[in-house]
Symmetry: D2
């Protein structure tokens, strides 16, 4: 039996769209969908952000939290906090968005490093016990997403094996 | 506590894409998604059929069956069996499709009448116990669909209340 | 200097959406856009028919005629006149549609043979003098189409060379 | 006979994607399509920029110039030159883009004021003689655009009346 690994905590410089700072620890007990994105990444703007918005509108609540994470690994001066705030406003993003903490050295921010993300968009699904159940780069089919989120929401038992994606595709920004 | 109603059996003239005739009774033990459509209904062709195809590819198997039901209530001579067979081929439909039995009188076929469908597309979700859990006219958001199907797949308990749709829209063909 | 060839006359069994039968000869003096399609060809339904409908709404009139041509080369029994009439109604096609005359032998109808079309959708653009100026299989970019049609509408001079397509793509049904 | 008005010169702070600064005067003799946009305006990102890119790829050359104009009237700190440069790179914009000169007072930049634009996206079509032939807010159908551009390219005569738009729609950012 595979032991599921605990999802490392998010390292966030500051938050938008929320009164109180968030953390995975504070969200324990909920299923959490983390959308890592960059505001100038086309795959994020065209597919991932709209999906996150719909997931938030349809299913978020007592049991599910949708969270954005702005993981800037290129064009850093182009995507500062003021630009992100305007983006969040113009694109009608209603869920909290954290800014991934820049690294002391190198262009890849700290949460992105910690999760070894390949680029943006990346989706993380974390279960009620704080365990990482999906990490995928690129677009995930909406039906598959709905099914996986509901599967996590319906869980009450202890150990489960990670889900396999049957469908992950689309254009994204790769961090090499 | 609401008692869930049993889904009435499908009344099918003949089947395409299956060796043996199907019925809800034969499918008992599986969750069943029935897509009622007409091959010349634009909402069906543009939204419902592509969704059914993806649901079938992503999640159908031991526990879920996806079934088409050709419920012709207008242009009857235009949508006969030969036309439907060509449509099924050209649109790459891989799941079984039943032809709803025409009524002795009137234009609305028998299963469509029995379920009091408003038009096409109509989606029926039936649980493992053969109970009708969703009946909706028009397009259902993919995330919502994935979540509802998974919710039914995860059930083992006895009685549940019908799901509420938060999102049902899109153009369809209304039968009045 | 290339001599432009005269567009061969359409050979049409019968017409829909018009009181009087049409012919290229009757349309002489107008630019004519002929959309050859099959009602069960996905590339036609998804791209070509919507384009024809918009071209008709935006630019058709005294100087431009948009004409559909139903060139059935497969699934003949599935796409008879009754089925086509229902399709024309359901898809809101407002321009005249001719049914290409079946051949005495073989599956490819007569106009399709005469023009040596590769499949559907095929677009023919014919100038005010009845000369064939474009014949292309697959989807043509809308901007390119608008530009070519207007270029023909603005012509008053005698001889021109055929236009080159910079952009022709998309899925279609190939007749081999 | 209506006398067509000369298009006022663009007032540009600086240019991207071009070695030499541009001006309508330098472009005289060409038809010029000016796309006024903001990088965080959804209607621009989803419809106007993709259209400009295709117009540039399909028809730009000796006779037609496609030019972007970044007319920022809101979120000024969010859309500075560094952000715009990253946007131009990520969205594969190959045509020159000028930054509309901020006003001494007020949020609306100078070219935008001079042309009395309602918001973004706004399309300007300027003929070979430097006269303004279309100014429209929102999305213009691709077929209509192709036709209008070609109509201007085919002109050689002196005076013409302004074109009427039959189709202008879509979401945009309105400046009030």
């Amino acid at each position: 039996m595979t032991k599921l690994s605990q999802a490392p905590e998010l390292i966030v410089e500051s938050w938008l769209n929320t009164d109180a700072d968030l953390s995975l620890e504070k969200l324990r007990g909920k299923v959490v969908a983390v959308y890592a994105f960059q505001m100038l990444c086309r795959g994020c703007v065209e597919q991932s952000i709209p999906q996150a918005r719909r997931l938030h509108e349809l299913l978020a609540g007592q049991q599910l939290a949708v969270v954005g994470l702005h993981t800037v690994f290129e064009h850093h001066t182009a995507m500062g906090r003021a630009s992100l705030a305007a983006f969040v406003h113009e694109y009608g993003i209603g869920f909290p968005v954290g800014i991934d903490q820049p690294a002391a050295q190198g262009s890849v921010p700290q949460t992105m490093q910690r999760y070894q993300m390949q680029g943006t968009p990346t989706l993380l699904l974390i279960d009620q016990h704080g365990r990482l159940r999906r990490k995928s780069f690129g677009h995930l089919d909406d039906i598959q997403l709905g099914a996986e989120v509901m599967s996590l929401l319906r869980e009450s038992d202890a150990e489960h094996s990670p889900m396999e994606s049957k469908d992950s595709s689309g254009t994204g920004c790769r961090a090499d």
